[in-house]
Amino acid sequence: MTGKILVNEQVVPNVHRLVLDAPMIARRAQPGQFIMIIPDAEGERVPFTLSDWDIEAGTITIYYQEAGVSTMKLTALKPGESVHVVVGPLGRPTKIEKHGTVLVGGGCYGLGAIYPLAKAFKEAGNKVIAMLEARTTYIVYNEERLSEVTDEIIVVTADGSRGVRGHIKDGMKVLSDRGEKIDHSHFVGCTFMMMLSAEATKPYGIPTIVSLNTLMVDGTGMCGVCRVLVDGNTKFACVDGPDFDGHMVNWDMVFARKRGYEGEENLAYQFHKCRVDGAISQNAKSQEAV
């Protein structure tokens, strides 16, 4: 049944891998696209990047971090149970072309999400270098899978516990020092990581695509909550993106809009936590209303 959970496991601390039964979505999925999930009947519509799919098995894979009420609800679901709704694929697919050497960089959920990109760039005849950014060595994941579709993997850790110490920009320096010419780059991860990565490629003049993960409601271009400014023009991340030129994105606006519901998000998280812990009964609201 569509939406049935096949795998829901923590791969490294606070990064989870979710495999869902969704043959219709798997059949149409392309690199760079996303899906939206409504965890349960009271849930919101939350976007996640399609990180793998299997047309024959009819399954799709996403990676997520527990960061709010929706992802907290997801972590509680067990194989055999179902999410309330899954819809997709949405968004424009990534433009896959032969550039020469392509750098795909990922952070947090992006370590999972860059797999289809790396694979597609590789299949298009590029030399593909994957750069995996993590705070520390034990939260690096998905290396084995990525190694099947890349020519090289560079690990960058903030604490220097493995690979290059620092961030994408330090990894870039290593590449440049050894004379590696990068023709194209694509980054997926948290907003901060994508912004810093776009800044890092700029001095080298490397064309840079980022997959923005704005707030979304419908994911079909109907509400405009996902609007971003790119080169001075308003774009909807869900239908015009999620891929945009990282050097043209107005990052201040992306950050400000992401924080739009911080207070409410916290409240929802606390509310749900209390409910799970039994502090609020299921019909607290209706009792209040009486």
Binding site: I25, R45, V86, V87, L90, T220, R227, V239, R257, A268
Partner: protein, 483 residues
Amino acid sequence: MSKRRDGLTAKERMAIPRAKMPEQDAQARASNFEEVPLGLTPEQAMEESKRCLECRKQPCVHGCPVGVQIPEFLDLVGQGKFVEAARLIKETNILPAVTGRVCPQEDQCEGDCTLFKKYGGVSIGALERFVADYERNNSIVEIPPKPKPSGKKVAVIGSGPSGLTVAGDLILEGHEVTMFEALHEAGGVLVYGIPEFRLPKEIVKAEVNYLAKQGVDIQLHKVVGMSIAMNELLEEYDSVYIGVGAGLPTFMRIKGEELNGVFSANEYLTRANLMKGYLFPEYDSPLPPGKHTCVIGGGNVAMDAARVARRLGGESTIVYRRAREQLPARGEEVHHAEEEGIDFQLLTNPVRIIGQDGKVVGMECIRMELGEPDDSGRRRPIPIEGSNFEIECDQVVISIGAGPNPLLIQTMPDLEINRWGYIEVDKNNRTNIEKVWAGGDIVTGAATVILAMGAGRIAARSIQAYLTGQPQPGTEEQQEEAS
């Protein structure tokens, strides 16, 4: 029409005072989401229906975009035959419980009623609503017997009023009908746009269930163009109807629109209605109450947004650049909004939205005055220089109209569209592509529920003719055959 049984004279009919629909108290309702008008009692309905003068020319029927047989249904109401009345309406209008609530009757049937000017038109909308509710609430909605299967397959894209009409009409003809809807609930604007207090979602659910029970296969969360390609539909189905609405929000291109606290009306209303944001945190999608919400625009959508904001507990203001008489919203909605304490800043236009730390803190506006008539025949508002002033507010909802969503259309390069991006159709709502019809807001631009249903009806007739090898309605061939 057979002679009325009550034997009242025209004079006696005119002497009956127009029924007043009971309403929820304005104070109380400004803080809940329950329906505002409470509906007529059976006695009131019977009495009101007797006001109909049975004019020979039936101006009311001509005023109805789908030609509901109004005098006949009023006669049935007068006899207490409420269920029969509901069924009669449904022959031309499959959603009477909806249209009875949201149609602009004052501009249509009731506005054309002979009694309109002097006594107020017969309350056709209220009676339509009454009989439909009566039928539904007494669980006497009958599922029609299954027609003989035709072996033909029809795909309907979009589950708004136009899609629902096409599906409802064609399932009765024995075709296999599949309706694709992008969102996770069926009903289009009826579920994501129009708020609960104007159109309870239970009613839309009941109508959608009625179609499902008749065998319409409702495929939710399938975005045609993304989840399924148009080409696949064209291969699998004998006809395709596009009723995807006009769901693209328009922004104003003024400074500060990127700020947090600025919403398109679509976002604001979708959060409130579809995602049940007013029940946050019981439901997860937040719709934070503003201290003061300014809604820019003067249509029904703007009234809906302003009234939602009021119900969430804050102050609410409509900012509209023209004068009161020019407000495009229905009189009833403006009246309700005023009663609920919504402030109207008319002849006022926003210049920029003012922000602090990424959040809205106010809006700079300019006063307007009316100049010469423009293309639409309305006097053009012109800014009064130097009249700028600031309104303190923490939310701004932009409700200045909607456009066609290109998501599906851009996957159909051969489809003929006009310069605004709406689909071109002939008088049978056929597009230039074989097997493809379109109707509702995606053809006309944002219009009304009843017009969307009317378009659906026309398309359904044309599809039926196409699938059964009959000549197209309105063609010479067809007229010859009919005569």
